[in-house]
Structures are given as C-alpha cells and as structure tokens.
C-alpha cells in the first residue's frame, strides 16, 4: 500500500514537473482566497473574483510584473474558503507554506478579513483590504501594522445616508418621516445603531422601525408595516437577497416615498437588470465617480475580460488595491516589510483616483452613498472623493 502511494505520488510529481513552464523562475505565484460557496459567494462572484482575473490579465498583457528589473508573469492559485473563517486561515497557510505564493491577496468581506488579519500579520504579508468596512482602523493598525483599510467605516457609511436624506429634506423633496429597517446581523445592527440617533439629530422622525432575520423569505409584512406608517423616506440596511426582496415589495405595494435607500447590492449591475427603469432615484450604499475616464476604462476592460459588468462600489476598490500592491512591488521588489513601508509612505494612482493611507493605514476618503441616475449608479456622498453629483427625488416606481 505504502509503495503504491509512493508510486502514485512520484507519478503525480513527474506530471507536475513536466507541465511546469520552462521558465519557472519568471513566474510569480499569486494566491487568492475568498468565498466561491457559502452565504457570501454571490457577493464575491460580483465584486471580488472577476477583479483577480482582470488584474492578472492586465499585468500579464503588459508583459508581467517588473520585479528587480525582471519581468515576471503572474500565475494565480485560487482557494474557496466556503465563507468560513477557519478555511480562510487554512488557505492562507497553505498558500504560503505549500504553494509558495509570493503574493497573497486579501480575502473577501469584513468578517473574513478581520478573522484572517492575524495570520497575514504572522507571515508579514501586506494586507490591503478592499471589502472590509470597519470603524476600528486605528486599533487594527496598531495590532497588525500590515493591514490597510480602503472601503471605509460603518459609521461614515451610515452618516452618509443621513447626509443624503438631509440634503433632500433641505431641498424640500422629502418631509421628515422615515421608515428604517435593518437585517438582524452585525452589519445591519451596527449601521442602524449609528443612523438612528443621527437621523433624529438631523430633525427626522422615525415613524417605523424594525429588523428582520437574515434569510427571511417574505418581506411583505415589513413593507406593509412601513407603508402603513406613511413615511417620506424608506431606509433599509440590507443584504443582497433582502435588497432585492424589499425593492420588489416596494414596487408591488407602490410605496410612495421621496427617497428609497437599500444597502448592499443596490450598486450591483444585476439590480438594474432586474428592476429596469423603476430604480431611477434609488439610493444605496457605495458609489463611484462614474464620470471619471479611469473608471469608465476599467469598467470596459472588466466587461471585456470577465464577461460581466463591475458593480458601482467595491469592484473598483478591489481592483485599485491590487494596483497599489502592483506599484509597490515594482518600486521595492518582493520584500514584504519594504512593500508595507512603501504603501505607508506613498500615494497611488488607481481606477478610483488617488489612494493615500493615513497614519492608521486607513484610506480616509471613500464613497458612502450612491444613487441610480439615468441607468448609472453615481456617487452622491463621500468622505472626500471627487465627482459627487447632487441627489434627486425618487420618482414613482412605474
């Protein structure tokens, strides 16, 4: 038995050896780990995986990454972590120890990034997160100086929604009555917790407030309850499936509000495909500077290479963090400590504009709210990004 195993292994090794490209030393192994299955797989399939593919294609099309004067082609090793933090950590260990990946990209989502931060720190890998929202950037960077945050904090995202609605109220587009709902998990509870006092401080009255469990199959009681309270604006800190379901219920119930806000997935191209022109004026989490040539060029390449459109929030941020890594490696080589220092010390030109990290390794300027206007999800509130447009009043659903 043992001998047979050995023979099999030897054969496998031989085959592996023969299929390895002849110029093995000119290939740079890139490791990527994110959900392909599990609850977050749908989001990762939109915002994360296509960008890994696009970035590698882009770099290889240019002839490869320039490391210490040598052009190196990228080769990706992908792992599915099943949306399970334990698997993320195992995959990172495997990428470094067994696959000998020289670059390891950050994982997907807030939870998985935070869970994997210690293992990235142990290996000293620069971890430029692109899909994590956290208000604890200062604590994080103190504990793990290799971690960078680009997508922003939950607090500012909730405050962005308040700011957008306040603007609409000042214009006279909406009154002061708000219906606010949230998905009952860490994300929804945290955002609703920040938004509620901020709405009240801004002179709004919350006439309907409720939460619903993740995976609720019928949200019509929620929408009926909200409608019965006759709000001027509807705000939902929701996840993809409920974003779709709440919007559908709003169409069915013909909820007449001057502002309609849903959170994750509002910026997905699939949202526009499903609801068509009915979503004109819908507000959502995220946003991009849709008019910038850098973004438009990126969106075009994204569609050409991956066959899918990027979303209007995290997609471009994910790609931009790969660009940061790329520029740093070209500047200082593959020494992780040097890369981290280089990222801290410099600012980078990317598809979302200039990325510059503060003393807490945090990108202070990010989009918080966007709005569907004329078939494009345009950024309307940010913490210092350029290209914001004015919010408009939500028209009827038909």
């Amino acid at each position: 038995m043992k001998r047979r195993t050995f023979t099999t292994l030897a054969t496998l090794a031989l085959i592996a050896g023969m299929t390895t490209p002849a110029f093995a030393q000119d290939v740079l192994k890139v490791g990527a780990v994110a959900p392909k299955t599990g609850p977050l797989a749908g989001g990762a399939a939109v915002s994360y995986w296509p960008n890994v593919k696009l970035w590698v294609e882009d770099v290889n099309a240019r002839g490869g990454l320039k490391v210490d004067g040598k052009q190196m082609k990228l080769e990706v090793v992908e792992y599915d972590d099943q949306t399970n933090p334990g698997e993320t950590i195992k995959a990172v260990q495997r990428l470094v120890d067994q696959d000998k990946a020289q670059i390891v990209l950050p994982p997907y989502s807030t939870g998985l990034n935070l869970a994997a931060a210690p293992i990235y720190a142990r290996y000293g890998i620069p971890m430029i997160t692109s899909t994590a929202t956290t208000d604890k950037a200062a604590d994080l960077s103190k504990q793990f100086p290799n971690v960078f945050i680009t997508l922003g904090g939950a607090q500012q995202i909730a405050l962005g929604a308040v700011e957008a609605l306040t603007k609409l109220k000042a214009k006279g587009d909406i009154g002061n009555k708000i219906a606010m709902v949230n998905v009952a998990d860490a994300f929804g509870i945290e955002l609703a917790g920040v938004a509620k006092p901020a709405f009240e401080a801004a002179g709004f009255e919350i006439v309907y407030e409720s939460s619903y469990p993740l995976g609720t199959q019928d949200l019509s009681p929620v929408m009926k309850g909200a409608k019965a309270a006759a709000p001027d604006a509807f705000v939902a800190f929701s996840y993809p499936a409920d974003t779709f379901a709440l919007t559908e219920q709003a169409v069915i119930e013909d909820l007449q509000v001057g502002a309609f806000y849903t959170a994750v997935a509002t910026a997905f191209p699939g949202y526009a495909k499903r609801f068509g022109p009915a979503i004109e004026g819908v507000l959502g989490i995220g946003g991009v500077d849709a008019s910038s040539p850098a973004f438009q060029d990126y969106a075009k390449r994204h569609e050409a290479v991956t066959g899918a459109q990027p979303d209007f929030w995290a997609s471009a941020v994910v790609y931009s963090t790969f660009q940061v890594l790329e520029q740093s490696i070209e500047a200082v080589g593959l020494d992780n400590a040097k890369i981290i220092d280089h990222i801290k010390a410099n600012s980078f030109e990317t598809v979302i504009g200039t990325l510059d990290f503060d003393e807490n390794n945090n990108n202070p300027s990010f989009w918080t709210v966007g709005q569907w206007q004329g078939g494009v999800f345009k950024g309307i509130a940010s913490t210092g990004r350029e290209g914001a447009v004015d919010p408009i009043k939500k028209a009827g659903w038909k």
């Binding site: 299955t37 797989a41 749908g42 399939a45 009952a184 469990p213 009926k224 309850g225 997905f268």
Partner: protein, 288 residues
C-alpha cells in the same frame, strides 16, 4: 384578513419547498440533504430560460419537471440503490443516505458553480400588484400559491386513489410486507424519489420568480423543508401542507403584529412545541 392571505401565500411557498422532500423521505426513505440544490437548479433553469429567451417560468416548469424526474431517477439508481440494497435496517439506510446526499449536495453546488457561476440570479417576473379584498399582493406569489395548491392536490388525489399511489403508500408504511403482495418495492421507491425531485425542482422554478437565489443557497431550503416535513409527519402529504400553512401564517402574524425580528424564533418555537406534543408530527404515524 391581510395577515391571513399573506400568511397563506407564504405557506404555499413553504409547501412547494417541502413537498418534494416529503416524497423522498417519507416514501422512498431517503433523507435527501441535496434537496435544496435540486430546488436551486430548478430556479436556475427558470432564470436562464427567462433571461435568454423570455420564456415564462410557468412554461419552463413543464420542461423542468420531466428533466428533474429523469435526473433524480438516475441519481437514485446510481448512488442510492446500492445503499438500499446493503442496508440491514432502516436506521443504517438513514445514516448512509444522509452521508451520501450530504456529499451530493456539495457536488450539486460545485456543478452549478462551474456552469453558471456564483453570481446571484434574480429576475423580475409578474412582480405586479394584484388587488385582493382591499389589499395588494405580488402576482408571482399568487401564481406560486396556485401551483402549490394544484401540485399538492394532484399528489394527494394520486396517492389516495390511484393504484400506483396506493402501492407507494404501501412501501412507505411497510416495505417488507409490500413485497409480499406483489409490489415492486425498488421500482416504486425509485419512482417516489424521482417524483419528489421533480416536485422540488418545479417549486424552485416557481419561487425563483420572487426570491433571489445563488448557487450556495440550497442548504437554507433543505433546512426549511426538513422542519416542515418533520412537523407535518413524515410521509403524509396533508401533514406537509398543514405544517407549511401553519408556519406561513405564524411567521406572517408575528412579523405583522409583534416584530419581524421574531419570526425565526416563533417558527422554531412552533417546531419544538409540536415535537413535544406529537413527536411523530401532526399527521405522522406512531412508530412501532
């Protein structure tokens, strides 16, 4: 009134989710943990036909059902019949079936991922308001409810009155004795399993008109179906329908009157209470 109708509509959805599993577990004695994947596959077929060729999901059902029937028959023949053959007791078959179908559920997720990608698939079909007794409801939910009534009604009539239906009930009650009266237990079990798969995939195609699915959501539906089947009583169509409606009404009542955050808690409370009072389920037979 509004709560009752919304609750009934949700109950109809639940009946669609659970009916197939009831056939597979109750009649064919296969605890199919890959049930949810079959449902998602049905939903994907509807999505694909609708977005690629504007084919109405209601028509797609007539294609999905026979294909799912054939696929499930093959699954039963290839993967599950060997287990049935070698199982010495019902308990052993149950354990083997759970392990096998658990593995199959991963295969299912992997296949769907490979063919369709991991993206959410959602489309808008009949999401127009229908006015009923002074309130509005989604037309797609009404259609799904109508289909649930038709499917469950047809199944019940078939099981209660047709010769084949009686044979299937016989193998559910006493597989060993059924053989003595000339019933081909193996063929009937395969038929019940395949039929269950067809019903599940049909349900998937119908509920995809109003729920957002992706390749990995199957497990959520498997769990819900399991709760409903056990609550209603394994192997009884009426039990599944009653349990599904009860669950739909309760969840809607709690969401509308108390708080939407408590729907899950209420659903599992009902589950626990029923298990305490009637461990065999609402319509279940006492095990001897």
């Amino acid at each position: 009134m509004d709560i009752i109708i919304t609750g009934l509509l949700l109950g109809g959805t639940y009946a669609l989710i659970a009916m197939g599993l009831n056939l597979q577990y109750g009649m064919a004695r296969i605890m199919n943990l890959a049930n949810g994947e079959m449902l998602v596959a049905g939903g994907f077929a509807a999505f694909w036909f609708y977005t690629a060729g504007q084919v109405s999901p209601i028509l797609t059902v007539f294609l999905v059902a026979p294909v799912a029937f054939a696929a499930n028959w093959l699954i039963y023949m290839i993967f599950l019949r060997p287990l049935v053959k070698r199982a010495k007791s019902r308990g052993q078959l149950e354990v083997d079936a759970i392990l096998t179908t658990f593995g199959l559920s991963f295969v299912g997720v992997g296949l769907m991922l490979a063919f369709f990608g991991g993206d959410y698939f959602s489309y808008s079909y009949l999401s127009v308001p229908v006015h009923l007794l002074g309130d509005t409801y989604g037309a797609n939910r009404l259609v799904a409810f109508g289909a649930a009534v038709a499917i469950c009604g047809a199944l019940w009539l078939w099981l209660a009155y047709s010769r084949m239906g009686v044979s299937i009930r016989a193998i559910a009650v006493a597989p060993d004795s059924a053989r003595l009266v000339g019933i081909d237990v193996r063929a009937m079990a395969a038929l019940a399993f395949a039929l269950g798969g067809a019903v599940t995939a049909t349900g998937g195609a119908l509920i995809s008109t109003f729920l957002t699915l992706d390749a990995s959501t199957g497990v959520i539906f498997t769990l819900k179906a399991l709760v409903i089947v056990i609550m209603g009583g394994v192997g009884d169509v009426r039990g599944t329908v009653v349990a599904a409606l009860l669950l739909g009404l309760l969840e809607t009542f709690v969401a509308s009157v108390i708080d939407p955050g408590l729907t899950l808690a209420a659903a599992y409370l009902l589950f626990v209470v029923i298990l305490l009072v009637r461990p065999q389920g609402l319509f279940g037979r006492k095990t001897t």
